[in-house]
Point group: D2
Amino acid sequence: MVIRVAVAGATGAVGMRLASILARHSWFEVVGVSSSSASAGRPYGEFLAGTDVGRSLPQPQMDRLFRMVVEDSAHFDPAAADLLFSALPSAPAQKLEAQYARSTPVVSTSSAFRMEPDTPILLGGVNTEHTGLLETQQRNRCWKGFVAPKPNCAVAGLATTLAPLRDTFGLRSAVVTTMQAVSGAGLSPGVRAFDVLGNIIPYIPREEQKVACEPRKILGRMDDGRIELASFSVDATCTRVPVLDGHLMSVYVRTERPISPGEARRAFESFGRDAPTRGLPSSPKRTITVCENEAGPQPRLDRDREGGMTVTVGRLRSGGAEGLRYLCLVHNTKLGAAKGAVLTAEYLASRFLRWV
Amino acid sequence: MVIRVAVAGATGAVGMRLASILARHSWFEVVGVSSSSASAGRPYGEFLAGTDVGRSLPQPQMDRLFRMVVEDSAHFDPAAADLLFSALPSAPAQKLEAQYARSTPVVSTSSAFRMEPDTPILLGGVNTEHTGLLETQQRNRCWKGFVAPKPNCAVAGLATTLAPLRDTFGLRSAVVTTMQAVSGAGLSPGVRAFDVLGNIIPYIPREEQKVACEPRKILGRMDDGRIELASFSVDATCTRVPVLDGHLMSVYVRTERPISPGEARRAFESFGRDAPTRGLPSSPKRTITVCENEAGPQPRLDRDREGGMTVTVGRLRSGGAEGLRYLCLVHNTKLGAAKGAVLTAEYLASRFLRWV
Amino acid sequence: MVIRVAVAGATGAVGMRLASILARHSWFEVVGVSSSSASAGRPYGEFLAGTDVGRSLPQPQMDRLFRMVVEDSAHFDPAAADLLFSALPSAPAQKLEAQYARSTPVVSTSSAFRMEPDTPILLGGVNTEHTGLLETQQRNRCWKGFVAPKPNCAVAGLATTLAPLRDTFGLRSAVVTTMQAVSGAGLSPGVRAFDVLGNIIPYIPREEQKVACEPRKILGRMDDGRIELASFSVDATCTRVPVLDGHLMSVYVRTERPISPGEARRAFESFGRDAPTRGLPSSPKRTITVCENEAGPQPRLDRDREGGMTVTVGRLRSGGAEGLRYLCLVHNTKLGAAKGAVLTAEYLASRFLRWV
Amino acid sequence: MVIRVAVAGATGAVGMRLASILARHSWFEVVGVSSSSASAGRPYGEFLAGTDVGRSLPQPQMDRLFRMVVEDSAHFDPAAADLLFSALPSAPAQKLEAQYARSTPVVSTSSAFRMEPDTPILLGGVNTEHTGLLETQQRNRCWKGFVAPKPNCAVAGLATTLAPLRDTFGLRSAVVTTMQAVSGAGLSPGVRAFDVLGNIIPYIPREEQKVACEPRKILGRMDDGRIELASFSVDATCTRVPVLDGHLMSVYVRTERPISPGEARRAFESFGRDAPTRGLPSSPKRTITVCENEAGPQPRLDRDREGGMTVTVGRLRSGGAEGLRYLCLVHNTKLGAAKGAVLTAEYLASRFLRWV
């Protein structure tokens, strides 16, 4: 049995990746794509042609997807789909995702609902226990569906590495500097070559706020139908670097109990072995991979491990008795965006049994 | 009156920059250049031709420097010079700088002597009061000259910004992530394009150790003929980025007293106004420049301010009540290397009055 | 006596460079700036702040320019200016430059008028003898002013190097591959980092046509009040490369008479010595500079020679008895755009004596 | 039945790629690896660890290869192998390949033997009919084996595209500008980031000579036991660009008979359909792929088509009645080096039947 899915915001960078992954996914069938009114009415192939993701599709899927007519997101009827993926920009997402969720479950890559108290930020392999909050959301808002957002792309990597440290050592604070790839800025207009060639831009609008807040929610405790934010602090500095894909993060954590690089390594390596997402089609074998290269992880060399779905950590070094320094790398357009959303959808589908 | 100078290690990247600066400097006259035995005997023009620094020389200085014959550093007689600049690699520097210092003052860009207890790490505008330790060094070692090393290139920027924070707020700890330019790795062989294009290499051998240790000495207190290391801690992560020149650093400090971005800004801006180095030819007007661009400092846009001799800070943000986040940028081959060494030499020359 | 100038299209990349050059130029005084209606009414400082060119202005000029209010190009009255610089996009330039020229001389960086039969493409130091055609233009169109376009940025370099080859050896054909910097694409939106990082894009819309046609007009013969196109052919391939500034071109020419690299070198070196533009403020000492580096010219090393106003050639090699291969480099935003237009304006001003 | 192979020069960039391809190839078994005396005696894993190619090996092959002890190329006994791959530098290759060939067939990526009159330059799918010349070589030199070199990496792409043009239209001349990736310069030391970041280096030592000569031999006619060089001329300009992998070439050809872009396209598309290499494991389905992207081929987007074994052409444009302009792209480390050599070996193995 196949799950019928639609993609809202399908003509952006994330939306096109979503559509191309779903078109090849054995669980899903893409039955609709939508975008802003300016793009509505045109064949989807006009947008996909000339992109990496469009070109990499097998012929039959490509033909089908290219011929699909883009609908207007504002007047899109989600009823034809069992599940809707939203890659809408944050501004329209606020209203449209709510509109879709009246009838249909929505898995979203946008930030619109992330900090809503009745909404979990689902991160595959890390906090599936937050899924229950979606029922609160449905009740609160009288929705038949729900809105399940995934985290910010950098947070997807960071929070995954903080989880085992919190579990094993307790977490007091994290100081993070991100070095984020240009693909994280999307395509229209994205980052200008003139600005970033041979340069670093140490500012990404609204990003540090997300990196500071989302991990505390993702690692918060479900208690009595709500999430209690985790008590650690995150101080973030976010920079844009001339790298194509892959967000690298330099992390310094202080823990409640003594920690050593060796213990941290074991905590990273054993993390996620029993996660309920294990075995799902998009799940990596290892939630976290410890890099054996003493000069790693490196964006270009390590971002595509396990199909871009594992978080790679490396250079574990002491930072005092209760401190640890490490680097972590997340593929921002795979685990950090489209593929991460698909993993969440797989989990939700498998859990709720409505579909599979 | 002119100060006669020689450059040891003159055929490396730093050495060539030193020679070209000195050749144009009104206080100094280059009377000798040396390198390893493999290069000895060849005209210096063979090395300078085809480099930026060689080509940018005015004609008469170029002619003179190009015709100079490279001597063998191992058998170099420093007596002909009033002052010797050493840009030797660390390994030979250990022995040769000591040998030169028997007769002649040495200003060094190498790390060989930096952590010796009787040796200061001189950073123009920051710790001129450490100069007195050179007398201890002379006494201890029965030298007529001395060895005065400058800091590591990243430390030159970091320690400059930590100084006013320590003075005003007290300093408990700093967590630093550096994003260092390829020119910091020198020319032979330097960083391979294949390794760093579209990539970040989060490891620079032996660098984090220097960034952790040198600031504590530079900001230490001279007491009874020795330097007491400052009590704050530095936890560093050093990365190599595809940037030509300019080390950018993301810094998180915890202070002893409450700090706010506004207060920190004032401390940065007023720092160094009365430094004994003010007015020297290579001294910047502002030791620290606060960047007015909300997305700065950026290596390509800001590294050349004040001839590469000011440290640019930006994006001052709170990090809790006693925490501050900021970015700082140092031109690694100017303030961080050759020009920084020249400023130190100017100060030493002006102070000891032997020469000027 | 000062020439009052205005800049139309002043908020684009070229327009801002024009304004900043003119603001510092002793001959000129900027009395107005204009842009599209969307930008009109705002202080010009909003656009200049945060740009290289804005920041590099001396304080008094910066203050004056930043406070100037941007006018609407469509309703701009050119009468207040003795001379108008147009950096308008081609589409509006067609209509607006004609409108301005009714009353006022216009020096333009746009392509709108370049191929009009009664309009010369003026390239400083190369074809000042075409200036007379502006009188035909005035007569034909009943204008008091005129429109004097400069060439395409790549052509500014190419045609300069073809001129002495044509003069000395006769020119049959040129085969050209350009490697053009990202700054050539302007700022809105410019080239996306995601497209060009670690990549080459071998297509620039409408560029090859310009490179093929403009040199034949620039090097054409003025005859009886019209320009007879030169008879050589140009076959061009234009590519975009991850370089900030500086268009590098690989050129293969076939000549009518035998040519050798040595003879070509002499022709390049002696070219432009008697050009009527010699001695003007923006004129380089050498119209063409032969690069002494056997691996040059290189964009990053050579683009700024003589303030970006000389064309650098190198690697002169034989291409058969009547063939020559060489590389040439032009600073696309200096000689190739704003500064090149200023040089043309200086020449026109000095020649027509109306102003200076 | 398995063919036992050894790799000489196994610790360089090409050698490591060769070894890793061969380790996974069902026809071949790696029985020895050699390098200079400085590397001899060390486990091969010391060299492979930390490289892309080493890391991408499946576990059993990796274990086996990593444990292999590197032998000294100068004292290597080729007798244990049925076939030897040489990735030696040109200087030692001259002597050592001859020494190996006394007993053993050698497929070489070096340039040492390419221009020897009794040696073909074998390019899979293009000139298999030259294979017969190896018998002349054996006879001339009293070898049991032979030396079969593959072309220069840029030539592998260029000559492949010239072949169908010569067949269909006759070929008079080609003017070529290459934009070559940094991986083409190998690893020790390779291209310095400081030299090529944001820059183009329009000179690659000895490269233009190879691009001018090798295609004429590859496309020459076997006649009476010798190759008559093709009569067309090639004028080349070779540049190094900040691209990781993939040599892009801008080509202008003049033909003997009229040519149009449409006819050229058909010639490219139908080329190689009946090549004797079709169906071999490393052979692409299409020897030449015409790029459907109007702004292609682009190194980053197109280099990996068909496993890096097809040559991609694009932007076919007229260059006069008997002229054609186009771009072509070859993966320099796949078809242009290691994988190209393996395809040649597959063909030789299948043809001579000694092994398969």
